[in-house]
């Protein structure tokens, strides 16, 4: 069993149980738009990230992330607080993105963000991968990114979601299970299968 939390730093992310969320939600439920804007700012990067890694392009991710927050605002009065706001907004974004993908199955997605974050060059894993561990030493970040993106897009939506939430965004299995409305065992088995697939497809970069 893997540890529930990963060592991956979550850029711009907030802890899963953000202490101020409940208070902000209460204010937003009373119609305070500024409070809701604060909630957006807290969760926007993760929500955008989920949409981006599932759809594979910035434009769709932008639309879907915005739509998720708009839907959340409209449904906020019905939010009882049974789960955290964080899980709830994730679930809205996940379901919205799945619907979008079903409607646009014939459209070829393309992961197309041009720039890696400026912090990328300081990541030890990344430096190692593009210098020592890559079979072709001249393979740059773009090629590595392209291989990774192609492999991700070959996964099914459910498997891509699990990989995105766990291996990229660092969410624990239980949290992913709540978002995807399945049990943690299913999350683990999907994660295992997805990694196996990726491992096979990315074999060149592992040797």
């Amino acid at each position: 069993m893997e540890s529930m939390s990963t060592s991956l730093p979550l850029r711009g992310a907030v802890p899963v149980e953000e202490p101020g969320d409940r208070a902000l939600v209460a204010k937003a439920q009373a119609g305070d738009c500024d409070a809701f804007e604060l909630l957006i700012q807290r969760h926007q990067q993760r929500i955008y990230g989920l949409c981006y890694h599932l759809t594979g392009n910035h434009e769709d991710a932008n639309d879907l992330a915005q739509e998720a927050f708009v839907k959340a605002w409209k449904a906020l009065r019905n939010f009882k607080g049974d789960s955290s706001f964080y899980t709830w907004i994730y679930r809205i974004a996940y379901n919205g993105t799945l619907n979008h993908l079903k409607q646009r199955r014939n459209r070829t997605p393309h992961l197309s963000l041009n720039d890696l974050d400026a912090q990328a060059e300081h990541d030890a894993d990344l430096v190692q991968l593009v210098s020592d561990r890559t079979p072709r030493r001249d393979a740059g970040l773009t090629e590595l990114q392209q291989h990774l993106n192609d492999a991700m897009l070959r996964l099914s939506e459910e498997h891509r979601t699990v990989v995105t939430l766990h291996d990229i965004q660092g969410l624990p299995h239980d949290e992913i299970a709540r978002i995807m409305d399945c049990n943690p065992g299913t999350v683990r088995s999907r994660l295992f299968y997805a990694r196996q697939q990726l491992q096979a497809w990315l074999a060149d970069f592992r040797k």
Binding site: N62, F69, L113, F192, R195, Q199
Partner: protein
């Protein structure tokens, strides 16, 4: 399902690289403002009367197309109305009554108004008179058409296509 932490370590490290994929610089600085603006726009639309929101959702290009269609429909309706009016348009009977007419030709030198055509069976099925036949135009009384001193039994009617009667009379 064996799953040791080491088994997928390299894959996980590769996947972790994807967290560095970032949208354009400044994107997240604007994001929340864009969402709030979108919410306010949608709420403003929801508070509008239904016809205003319909107009707003149409956009000016569609609106122009709808206006063109409406104009075409208007022209069509006017055309159909004019055709119907023309069918019902009959000459003023008083105009003809005021004319000085010869006894043999109730129309004199004035061209008679066009009468509705009638079926041949209706015409030829009628008894053949031994006297000449005059026609009372549709919409006219005998007096208005200048037909005088005709006995009622010498007048007979033939139905025309528009449910009017075309009347004939036997000349003396």
């Amino acid at each position: 399902m064996s799953q040791s932490p080491e088994e997928f370590e390299e894959i996980r490290r590769l996947l972790a690289l994807k967290r560095y994929e970032a949208p354009p610089p400044g994107y997240f600085d604007r994001f929340s403002g864009q969402v709030v603006a979108r919410i306010q726009r949608e709420e403003a639309l929801a508070n509008q009367p239904w016809w205003q929101s319909q107009l707003a959702s149409l956009g000016w290009q569609r609106l122009l197309a709808v206006a063109n269609l409406a104009a075409l429909a208007g022209v069509g309706i006017i055309g159909v109305t004019l055709v119907n009016l023309r069918e019902d348009d009959l000459p003023d009977p008083e105009h003809f009554a005021a004319l000085q007419l010869d006894s043999g030709n109730p129309w004199g030198t004035v061209a008679p108004p066009v009468t509705e055509p009638t079926s041949s069976s209706a015409l030829f099925g009628a008894p053949m008179p031994d006297r000449s036949v005059g026609v009372v135009p549709v919409g006219y009384t005998e007096a208005a058409a200048g037909v005088q001193a005709v006995k009622p039994e010498d007048i007979f009617a033939v139905p025309s296509r528009n449910d009017r009667q075309m009347r004939f009379y036997l000349r003396e």
